[in-house]
């Protein structure tokens, strides 16, 4: 991979009601790089990921994707995949229906079929039961299966390890390294540490303390 940064945060500041949550955050990320956002509860990890995903806008600074701003940039939206605290799974539908809805939504020509994706995340047996009968970890796995079905470059994951068993965490790490070696990029938040070697760390301090990376 050539190392010109694909994704640049330039001097991001976020203030809520005149109180700064973080100030002057600058990060460059190239293809194949992974970054863990860490910090105590309430330091702004979720807020930062929402900003990166374009769900909120920063008070100052800008975010560039392939040199262009991400604001209202449809090609950025097409290349990015965000999974938040809530898994984004419809409880009334089955896992299969949920995923087929996502593939329609993203119009992606996927490498894997929905069935294969569900097998990969260990949901072989329950594919056609409504998700309201799933356990916490099974719901998370449905959300993670959607990553298999999209050809996004940048993954933005908020606490993806929540509710996963150790087996699930291993599988996720394998998925991560496959994505990285394909030149993908991952930014995730977590309170646990992964056993992947190359994880960069972006530590957010407690409120209104400015951080420079």
């Amino acid at each position: 991979m050539v190392s010109s940064p694909l994704f640049e945060l330039q001097d991001i500041t976020f203030e809520r009601d005149d109180q700064a949550l973080f100030e002057g955050l600058s990060v460059n990320l190239c293809g194949g790089e992974i970054l863990q956002v860490s910090g105590p509860n309430g330091c702004g990890k979720t807020t930062l990921l929402h900003i990166l995903a374009n769900l909120k806008s920063p008070s100052q600074g800008q975010i560039l994707w392939r040199g262009e701003t991400t604001r209202g940039n449809p090609s950025y939206l097409a290349e990015q995949a965000f999974i938040g605290h809530q898994p984004g799974v419809k409880l009334a539908l089955s896992a299969r229906e949920n995923l087929s809805w996502y593939t329609q939504l993203y119009d992606s020509d996927t490498q894997l079929s929905i069935d294969q994706a569900l097998d990969k995340v260990g949901l072989k047996t329950r594919k056609d039961l409504p998700c309201s009968t799933y356990s916490a970890g099974q719901l998370r796995r449905v959300a993670l299966a959607s990553l298999h079905l999209r050809d996004a470059t940048l993954w933005l994951l908020d606490e993806p390890l929540t509710a996963l068993d150790s087996e699930g965490i291993n599988e996720l790490e394998a998925l991560f390294s496959a994505h990285l070696s394909d030149g993908g990029m991952i930014i995730f938040s977590s309170h646990q540490t992964l056993s992947l070697a190359q994880v960069g760390n972006l530590a957010l301090a407690d409120y209104s303390v400015s951080v420079q990376c």
Partner: protein, 247 residues
């Protein structure tokens, strides 16, 4: 005594016992109900005398009245099954209850339909807000509520319990609804339309009607048993005896 009944229920109230026993009865029941219905229809449509005021259109009575009666009786059957299921936790009662709902709804709908078809020649309109008709409409809503609730749950066990509670609450309400509607009707509109009382009916008309009523009771039982059997198979599809049946 009480203990005995309870034990008896648990011993014989198993879905499997029900399934095998009814397999033996079903053909006979089908034969009797179809026979009675055919007999009653021919008698009622062909041989019973013509009505002095309504001419031949009254003959729909042979379908309308039995269906209407069963529509109401069906609700009590459903609620009774629900009560048994809640109190003694008998699976079979659960299945009878949820099977009674769609059958009852169908009968109620048919009662409304045959009634309005009859209404056109006799009253000149398909629909009036008569007390009995209105409470029949409410009964249809009650049935639909139970059906919708049953479908809304994914867990069968929970759905059964929820429907049992709802149908019991409904039972308490049916007489109240009936009384209130009846009373409201007489308050607003003095009885301009009088349904022919069953007692004033001519005996030659009554006999085929009774045959039809008994025939429809058998027919209802037949439907309920068939539906319950389907429910049993669906509910117990993983048990060994059902797998054995299929194989």
């Amino acid at each position: 005594m009480w203990q005995f009944i309870k034990k008896w229920f648990h011993r014989f109230g198993t879905p499997r016992w029900f399934y095998h026993t009814t397999s033996r009865w079903l053909p006979w029941l089908a034969l009797v109900s179809i026979g009675l219905l055919v007999l009653g229809s021919i008698w009622g449509l062909g041989f019973a005398p013509e009505d002095a005021r309504q001419g031949n259109s009254y003959r729909i009575i042979y379908i309308h009245v039995p269906i209407s009666v069963l529509a109401m009786v069906g609700y009590y059957i459903m609620a009774a099954a629900g009560a048994v299921a809640l109190i003694w936790k008998i699976k079979l009662a659960d299945m009878v209850m949820v099977s009674a709902a769609p059958i009852g709804a169908a009968f109620t709908f048919l009662a409304l339909l045959t009634g309005s078809i009859w209404g056109k020649p006799t009253w000149g309109t398909y629909w009036v807000w008569d007390a009995r008709i209105t409470s029949m409409l409410v009964l249809l809503f009650l049935y639909l509520g139970v059906i919708a609730l049953n479908q809304a749950f994914t867990s069968r066990d929970t759905a059964y319990k929820a429907c049992a509670i709802l149908s019991l609450v409904g039972t308490v309400n049916i007489p109240i609804i009936y009384k209130s509607v009846d009373w409201w009707y007489t308050l607003h509109q003095p009885a301009t339309i009088k349904l022919t009382g069953a007692s004033t009916i001519h005996p030659d008309m009554l006999k085929p009607l009774l045959v039809m009523i008994v025939g429809f009771y058998c027919f209802y039982a037949l439907l309920l048993i068939l539906h319950t059997r389907v429910e049993i198979l669906r509910r117990e599809r993983r048990s060994s005896w059902v797998k054995g049946l299929i194989r």
